[in-house]
């Protein structure tokens, strides 16, 4: 039996403001346990929150990026529940009037650049909670309050996705936008993006099924697995004649399974009410528009432009625009205007990415500059060096201050295009391979590749393959 799945996502992203949302503590990951907290973020008696205005600005930017209506007046509310990592026993969040509402995101769903529009219900600001630590030397749990008061935005989607692939594309686009507008570090391993996933299934044409929610999925690949698992679980229940009950389930990525956390009857009553310690958030129109003007070109717009004005295939454009640093580097390279755009893309996505991945570095960690990369590519395009020599040059210039020209000179990598010097090599290779000459004359023209290879070897890689090819063809004809 066929089923259609429906997915809605709640993405929580930690913002990279300098300080926390309601106090002056540093907003930094990885500090010593309980060193980045104060009486305010640990909710000590009598202390009061004061709102960090940057948090509002960051959230409004995200609202603009996701085409939301920005509410000039919004309010903050208390969400009440007991847990040891929540020192006030309430989280300051936004309930009925969030900062941003009614937006959408166009997500690329195929290689042709076709998009699908996913509705964004709302974006609101809230504070993060602390973390429980479990130590074998201690019977109970310990609490680290460093994360308390780290600013979060929660981005709630409409239930507009119908496959795990669509959900993944949505998540990746959100992540990429967060990086482009530079409001989140997006470090998945540090938990700076987390999501809650709502999944339901139904037969095509029938009304939407009952949804189940999975909490705190920390990776995008985990989200895909969680969605697939939950849809399968629900289908199995229905196929066995069962009924889906609305419930919250906990995804265990290691086990690849989810487990019942609580049923609807046991769901929390958060007793939301307006936060009396804070004023309503009022943003004037001028500021709302200024924040919109400050938005950079967003990844989807950029991708489209790369395909249209640079003529790049979707594969290249997609990878190049994945993060803003890579895209900016690429565009500076193109601006040098001394080599082919497609070659820049090939090198960036090929050898440069390979080296970065091997060493787990980003472009900013290296000595590579757009000048150096395009100069090197230009040397190849002009025939001064071979592609093979180019790889050697890249390995050098990426980690040193040397220019490609210096490396070529030092290592003697300049390609020999002088026919006089190469003719002797060609002659000796042909003399040593009479059978290849016969094969070539017999119509197996592809042996020429072998012969070029032999010549390259004798020239220690410096022979210009194009010149060699010409010489070989000429000499065979003369034989």
């Amino acid at each position: 039996m066929n089923y259609e799945m429906t997915i809605g996502l709640e993405v929580h992203a930690e913002l990279n403001t300098a300080t926390k949302i309601y106090c002056g503590c540093k907003n930094a990951f990885g500090a010593e346990v309980n060193s980045n907290c104060c009486p305010i973020c640990t909710g000590m008696p009598g202390t009061l929150p004061t709102l960090n205005e940057k948090v509002v600005e960051y959230a409004v930017k995200m609202g603009h990026a996701l085409n939301c209506k920005i509410n000039p007046v919004s309010k903050q509310d208390r969400k009440n529940y007991f847990y040891p990592d929540l020192p006030k026993a309430y989280q300051i969040s936004q309930f009925d009037i969030p900062l941003c509402e009614n937006g959408y995101l166009d997500v690329m769903v195929d290689e042709k650049g076709n998009t699908k529009r996913i509705g964004v219900t709302r974006i609101h600001i809230e504070e993060d909670a602390g973390k429980l630590l479990h130590d074998e030397s201690f019977a109970g749990s310990l609490v680290d309050f460093n994360r308390c008061g780290v600013p979060l935005i929660e981005i709630v989607s409409e239930p507009d996705m119908h496959s795990s692939a669509e959900a993944k594309a949505y998540l990746e686009t959100i992540k990429s936008i967060l990086q482009y507008i530079d409001i989140s570090d997006c470090k998945m391993q540090e938990g700076s993006i987390r999501c809650d996933i709502n999944v339901s299934v139904c037969r095509p044409g029938e009304p939407m099924g009952t949804r189940c929610e999975m909490k705190n999925v920390n990776t995008f690949s985990g989200a895909v697995r969680a969605i697939e698992y939950e849809a399968k679980r629900q289908i199995e229940v229905l196929e066995a004649g069962g009924v889906i009950h609305q419930e919250t389930r906990r995804w265990d990525d290691a086990k690849g399974q989810n487990f019942l956390l609580r049923s609807k009857e046991d769901s929390h009553d958060y007793r939301y009410f307006p936060e009396p310690d804070l004023l309503t958030i009022v943003i004037d129109e001028e500021k709302i528009w200024r924040l919109k003007d400050e938005l950079p070109e967003l990844p989807n717009q950029k991708l489209k432009r790369y395909m249209e004005s640079y003529g790049l295939p979707h594969f290249d454009a997609n990878l190049l625009t994945e993060n803003p640093d890579k895209a900016a580097f690429f565009e500076s390279c193109v601006d040098k205007n001394n080599c082919k755009t497609k070659n820049i893309s090939n090198w960036l996505l090929g050898d440069v990415s390979r080296i970065l991945n091997e060493k787990n570095l980003s472009l900013a960690d290296t000595a590579l500059t757009p000048e150096k990369l395009t100069d090197m590519i230009a040397l190849i395009e002009k025939g001064t060096i071979s592609v093979t020599a180019g790889k050697t040059v890249l390995e050098e210039i990426i980690f040193s201050e040397k220019t490609p020209e210096q490396v070529v000179k030092e290592k003697g990598l300049a390609q020999i295009s002088d026919t006089g010097a190469l003719a002797a090599i060609v002659q000796s290779v042909l003399e040593a391979n009479p059978k290849s000459i016969a094969d070539y004359k017999g119509g197996k023209t592809n042996v020429i590749g072998f012969l070029i290879g032999q010549c390259m070897r004798q020239s220690k890689g410096q022979g210009n393959p194009a010149v060699l090819k010409e010489l070989i063809e000429k000499q065979i004809e003369n034989c």
Binding site: T42, M44, P45, G46, T47, A89, Y90, R271, L278
Partner: protein
């Protein structure tokens, strides 16, 4: 007259003239505490060392010829829900029996910068919930006019220490009448300032949207001078108003000439003791003779105020007090099976009955399915009451009412009847609901020998006007002072 009986203004004058030292003033108060504290029980903690150290500093400043603030060397009691760095701050609750804050409330910083001498932390109703000071976990404070009677609450210790001469001034907090009610019961002056004029940073919250710290003293000038020190914008409190404040104490005109006094009939109904009605009407007559006029005004929603107040304040309290869970500080129950059990035992054992009653009430009114019927309607009522005040103030400058429908009641008299206890706040809660300033001044004694309070209510930020009118009335009465039984 001994030092402990004098006003801050006259003590300050003496200090300036070097007729006494700050240490002598503090010692005089400490001696009075030694004599009377066992009987009255104003304090949870007496800060003898801290006080004498500060007094010595003040004497050094005097010796060095430095400029003195009007509060320099003046012993001040601080309600025990106002955080004092390094000094126990219990909110008179078992829950915080051992809590020593690592920070000062903004008002405490301001007191210290003004060289006031913090002499002790005043007993109160637990977490400021109560009208009699009887819900304190530690002790029941007695009324200095008659120790069989309550001092009023929740700032009972703040009022009693001033009335008993154990301190010259005190800070209280007022959420529904908690400064004005004990001020009236103990025969002292107490001001509930405009919401937002005094920082709440460091005040352990009861109901955040209603709480306000304010001064108590034995003269209008003293109260005005203390208010001048504690008011002002505080960036640590988002609800504190952005505005400039005057000097207050030095600007009291003590004139009511041409002042229009509004008399709301709703505050002179059957629930008000006839003796109190006549004392308040007499006071109004005295002011009229000084050139004030009276205007009849109406605050028709007053009947609903108490219900709205208990819904809003309990809702906020249920959330504010949720942090007392035994995890981080204060009381934690022993012998629990798991986390939930630890929460339940800690909160069951750490809170008293009245606090638990309000937490349950507040939790209920915020619950889904009940929010609209209770909390939302109470907030609508709040707006209506504020609007009615605004209309009244278009016809008059100040509104005068009794501070409480009765004088102090006997200890134990109302502890079993929460509704009767809540009724003590009937004349004061609307002021908090509307965020207005109001002052309570003594206006005579009843046949039981206990003081009666006159409440003057003004529009937002009209404290100077309240001091002017209260100062005029004080002159007409010939001044107030330490309770008769407490005099030296």
């Amino acid at each position: 007259m001994e030092l402990f009986e004098m006003t801050a203004a006259s003590l300050s004058e003496k200090l300036r003239k070097k007729e006494c030292s700050a240490v002598e003033i503090t010692r005089s108060a400490l001696t009075q505490i030694e004599k009377k504290e066992e009987q009255i029980g104003s304090f949870v903690t007496v800060c003898e060392e801290r006080a004498l150290k500060k007094a010595e500093e003040v004497d050094k400043k005097i010796a060095a010829g430095e400029q003195l603030s009007p509060l320099a060397g003046i012993p001040v009691g601080v309600k025990d829900n106002i955080c004092t760095e390094g000094t126990l701050t219990t909110c008179s609750s078992k829950m915080l029996y051992n809590f020593v804050p690592p920070y000062n409330a903004t008002v405490v910083d301001k007191l210290e910068n003004a060289d006031a001498v913090i002499i002790g932390k005043c007993n109160m109703d637990e977490f400021a919930m109560g009208s009699s000071c009887e819900t304190s976990y530690f002790k029941k404070t007695k009324n200095p006019w008659n120790p069989d009677y309550v001092p009023g609450g929740s700032s009972g210790g703040s009022a009693s220490c001033v009335s008993a001469g154990e301190a010259v001034l005190a800070l209280g907090s007022d959420t529904g009448g908690s400064i004005r009610l004990p001020a009236s019961y103990c025969g002292v002056v107490g001001l509930k300032p405009t919401y937002g004029s005094v920082s709440r940073y460091g005040l352990v919250a009861f109901a955040s949207s209603l709480d306000q710290i304010g001064p108590l003293g034995r003269s209008v000038e003293d109260v005005a001078n203390l208010y001048a020190v504690i008011c002002g914008r505080d960036p640590m409190d988002a609800t504190s108003a952005v505005r400039e404040y005057g000097a207050f104490g030095s600007q009291i005109s003590r004139s009511v000439k041409g002042l229009r006094i509004g008399i709301p009939k709703e505050y002179f109904g059957d629930g008000v003791d006839p003796e109190i009605k006549s004392a308040v009407m007499n006071s109004i007559d005295m002011l009229v003779k000084e050139g004030a006029e009276t205007v009849s005004v109406s605050l028709p929603s007053t009947d609903y105020a108490l219900s709205a107040y208990y819904i809003i304040s309990s809702a906020e309290a249920s959330s504010n007090l949720a942090r007392f869970d035994g995890v981080k500080y204060g009381y934690r129950a022993e012998g629990y099976a798991n986390l939930t059990d630890m929460y339940e035992k800690t909160r069951s054992e750490g809170f008293g009955d009245e606090v638990k009653r309000r937490i349950m009430l507040g939790t209920f009114v915020l619950s889904s399915g009940f929010y609209d019927a209770y909390y939302k309607r109470a907030k609508q009522m709040q707006q209506k009451i504020a609007q009615e005040y605004a209309e009244a103030f278009s016809q008059c400058d100040l509104i005068l009412t009794p501070t409480s429908p009765s004088t102090a009641f006997q200890i134990g008299e109302r502890t079993d009847d929460p509704l009767k206890m809540y009724a003590a706040d009937i004349c004061t809660v609307t002021v908090n609901i509307a965020g207005l300033p109001a002052i309570s001044v003594p206006c005579g004694t009843a046949s039981n020998g206990l003081p009666i309070g006159l409440q003057m209510i003004g529009p937002k930020f009209s404290e100077q006007l309240l001091f002017n009118a209260a100062g005029c009335f004080e002159n007409l009465c010939g001044g107030f002072g330490v309770a008769p039984a407490m005099r030296g």
